[in-house]
Amino acid sequence: MSQITVRIPTPLRSHTGGAGEIAAVGATVGEVLEAVAARHEGLRRYLLDPSGEVRRFVNVYLGERNIQALDGLATPVGDAAVIHIVPAVAGGVS
């Protein structure tokens, strides 16, 4: 199990007691996010859908790379890795 830093965007910090970073452990990105959601239950509905997949309106980065370009939630994480939760931002005129 690796000790991972998870960076939380501003809108979700109301679910982490204001913390912008959380330390968590896990062998994969999915395990780490599950550990974070278990500890901060309010975050779960923003991060993971009922089937356990990443929600449509967030992007998850491991270091510099979007996990969509890796192995998704099954992507292994190394020691001292940083997972970044990035809001997906979209809209339009109508």
Partner: protein, 152 residues
């Protein structure tokens, strides 16, 4: 400690004139396409200090949609954290449409961010307004300028 603003006191975004000009210029440069970017600053009360550049990835619907490049968001967030500030909002343009949120804007909105929208037209940029998600809908957020500046 996290500060909480009483619900009956409307938030106001401090967005200096120089940054409003930059938003209008960048938005107009993309016309007739939508443009978007990030606003970095202090969150509570919201004070914009500078802008972050982001591409619109909605390449098949650039005239009426935007998808902010998440790589740019990550880069802006890293820069902000290094300076002990935050991403506090998003700006985007509405070509030939009012500077108010659409149903599509609402669908993808996050609480806690300022959403600055600027109208662009063939004749130049138009209204600029800021909005904040408040419960199920958007509420207009007053914009304050800096000291030498008139409110927009």
């Amino acid at each position: 400690m996290r500060r909480t603003r009483p619900r009956d006191v409307p938030a106001a975004l401090v967005l200096p004139r120089e940054l409003r000009l930059q938003i209008r210029e960048r938005a107009q440069a993309a016309y007739p396409h939508e443009a978007c970017g990030l606003i970095l600053g202090r969150p509570d009360p919201p004070v914009a200090l500078r802008l972050g550049v982001a591409r619109n990835l909605a390449v098949d619907r650039l005239a009426d949609r935007y998808v902010l490049d998440p790589d740019a968001f990550l880069a802006a967030d890293r820069t902000a954290r290094a300076e002990d500030i935050e991403v506090i909002g998003i700006w985007h343009s509405h070509p030939d449409h009012p500077a108010r949120p659409s149903a599509t804007d609402l669908e993808g909105a996050w609480e806690g961010y300022s959403y600055v929208i600027v109208t662009t037209t063939a004749g130049g940029p138009g209204d600029l307004a800021s909005w904040r998600l408040d419960g199920a809908g958007f509420a207009r957020e007053p914009i304050l300028g800096d000291r030498e500046d008139r409110p927009s």
